[in-house]
Subunit: 388 residues, 2 copies
């Protein structure tokens, strides 16, 4: 096991009927709240009313900042920073999924900065302070409700970059699985792909010949949980236990727990996917199910043992030969993505193969920022050719 620091102070309040606590939790951090939300789904599913009622019961003053869309953009977050500064808000409440929460985190960091908030994303500046962030989760996939990261796309240059700081990690997150009942089939599937990929990028990194059984066991357990729950959800979107298992598993999948001790985790699949969603606005989960199987094929020579373990432990592959088990593992994973309705080729997302060079160039720029030197434009293009 590698040395690590694990620190995750977010208070999770989990379960049906818990949104009513958001007022009293928010009031611990301030009186004036910036309420960040998205495209209006929370007004349809009743979450908005629950939140407003709880905030008003705690006599909080609310400034609304709606309009976040998926693959959130910097210009909108900068509008949020302006609003937060002008109104003098003391605390930020995100009600939504990863895009809304990441916008809230970016605003929280930006309010305390004298410079362009994008400097945090290019690592030119380090976050030194932020407004407190709380969340009410309406889509479970990003784990942003219990981690220190935020991802944002800057329209100029179509750069989808990220930040990470304990200052922007949510103080409190409320997870009510009934909120997911209205999440459609597509996003229910993409959420599963996202959560699974978060873990697998670490799992494939848990290096042989000495992978830690502890992290392997957690990832395999959570992955089987997510797969089983997602299959149930697609049959019955209002199955409480399935939604609850998916919701908590997705949080644990990327809150630092499964990767602690695995060493520095590279996220090449996320990195390449960021270019797909930055350039084509495909859903992040859909992009991941396109890139992951192709990336695995590209890594087969060095990682057959790891892919074989996935095949055996998660998909019940029984082949003794490692390379065969690895190929079977990749194939079974890809088939499972298809089964739940997530695309597994560029074509399925209407991304033309002739764009590969352009995508690779975009991703290679992020590879430089993230320090993934092996991922040149050429290497990334080779991976993308395996995703056609």
């Amino acid at each position: 096991m590698q040395n690590f620091i694990f620190e995750n102070p977010t208070k999770i309040i989990f379960g049906q009927g818990q949104i009513k606590r958001i007022g009293q939790e928010t009031a611990r951090f301030g009186k004036k709240v910036l309420l960040v939300h998205g495209q209006g789904s929370i007004k349809k599913n009743g979450v908005y009313d629950q939140v407003i009622s709880s905030l008003s019961e705690s006599q909080l003053s609310v400034v609304e900042f709606p309009g976040v869309r998926s693959n959130p953009v910097l210009s909108h977050a900068m509008l949020g920073i302006e609003t937060a500064k002008r109104e003098g808000v003391e605390v930020i409440l995100a009600v939504g999924g990863g895009s809304v929460i990441d916008t809230a985190k970016t605003i929280a960091a930006g309010v305390g900065a004298e410079h362009d908030v994008w400097d945090f994303f290019t690592f030119r500046k380090t976050i030194q302070t932020a407004l407190p962030v709380l969340t009410v989760v309406t889509v479970s996939a990003s784990a942003s409700e219990m981690n220190a990261a935020a991802v944002m796309t800057r329209e100029e240059g179509r750069q989808k970059y990220s930040i990470r700081s304990l200052f922007i990690q949510p103080k409190v997150s409320i997870l009510d699985p009934t909120v997911l009942f209205s999440l459609d089939r597509a996003y229910s599937a993409y959420s599963a792909v996202d959560a699974v990929t978060h873990m697998l990028e670490g799992y494939f990194n848990n290096m042989e010949p000495n992978p830690s059984p502890l992290q392997d066991g957690m990832v395999e357990g959570l992955m089987k949980t997510i797969m089983g729950a997602t299959e149930t959800i697609l049959q019955n979107p209002e199955d409480y236990d399935a939604r609850a298992n998916m919701m908590w598993a997705a949080t644990l999948a990327f809150n630092g727990l499964t990767s602690a001790g695995m060493g520095q985790i590279a996220l090449p699949v996320h990195m390449i996917e960021h270019s797909l969603s930055a350039l084509y606005d495909v859903a992040h989960g859909a992009g991941l199910s396109i890139v992951l199987p192709g990336w695995m094929k590209s890594q087969l020579p060095g990682k057959a043992g790891r892919f074989a373990k996935l095949g055996r432990e998660v998909f019940g592959v029984t082949t003794l030969n490692d390379e065969e088990a690895a190929l079977a593992g990749i194939d079974r994973l890809k088939k499972w993505f298809s089964l739940i309705g997530s695309p597994v080729s560029l074509g399925a997302a209407q991304i033309p193969a002739q764009d590969i060079e352009k995508i690779a160039e975009n991703a290679a720029a992020l590879a430089q920022v993230w320090g993934l030197k092996a991922y040149t434009k050429e290497v990334i293009a080779e991976v993308l050719k395996l995703c056609v």
Copy 2:
């Protein structure tokens, strides 16, 4: 899944060579430190010197409070409270295992209380404040380094009771697996029994017909990790990866993670064991390996499905019939405790069967405090008869 709140703010610094950070971490909380430790093992294995050197580098003033023994006693903790008050310490550093950490927590709570600290253990009073606690772990079993609980024995009446409060939860814990290299065979085994039992009390509670696959998967994964690591450790006490896997797994086993969502967890096995270690001063882990298999037998009618799942998932039992698989599971668990050298009968720990009434009476008093009404003196005596 049941509703839950999960909040675990302890910062974990994990790995070889990390003890040198304790000075700077402690300095964040105060200048004058009460250094709580045990019977001198840290002077033999070099941990004491590392800690003192780091504290002095950070220019902290140190008041020593050594002498904690396993199954720590209230009178000693009260001496610590006096010392802490007299010396005006600002922060408490525990260097040791669960007994040392629990003593430090009790002192931390006691310093801020005007009344008898035991009132916290009988739930007559609630902890409202405490000095900050940090830890350097030298025995991995209790998970006290990352949870809010402390257990203490009051000599008068031989009561072994517990407290739980976020105020006493460690701010920072340093876990260096090399420190465990000098832990002897017996305590290495007892540590495994303790960690496994912490999880199983929840696992058996993860109620049918609807057990949560998420928690089941985590417990099964961590349990297999602990078992594999312990077998390696008994062969080679200086196997770094095995010690590291055991160390982190033991922390995760009782830091609230595996039980979150399982509902209110009763700890009847711990409760009955508390009476064994309070009355006979057997090691806590040794007491648990005596009580757990007997308790399982007593619960067979209602919990066959759960015991069968343990047998199948952890021990590879293949019997289709639930009751047979449950019996096989109990048998395999008991055999594994024996294999690693932990006692599985009262006799093996020189506890005479004719004392059962006395033990049951002691445990029944704690059952009242813990609200486990089903555990009358008679019921507990029946369980103990299955441990002969």
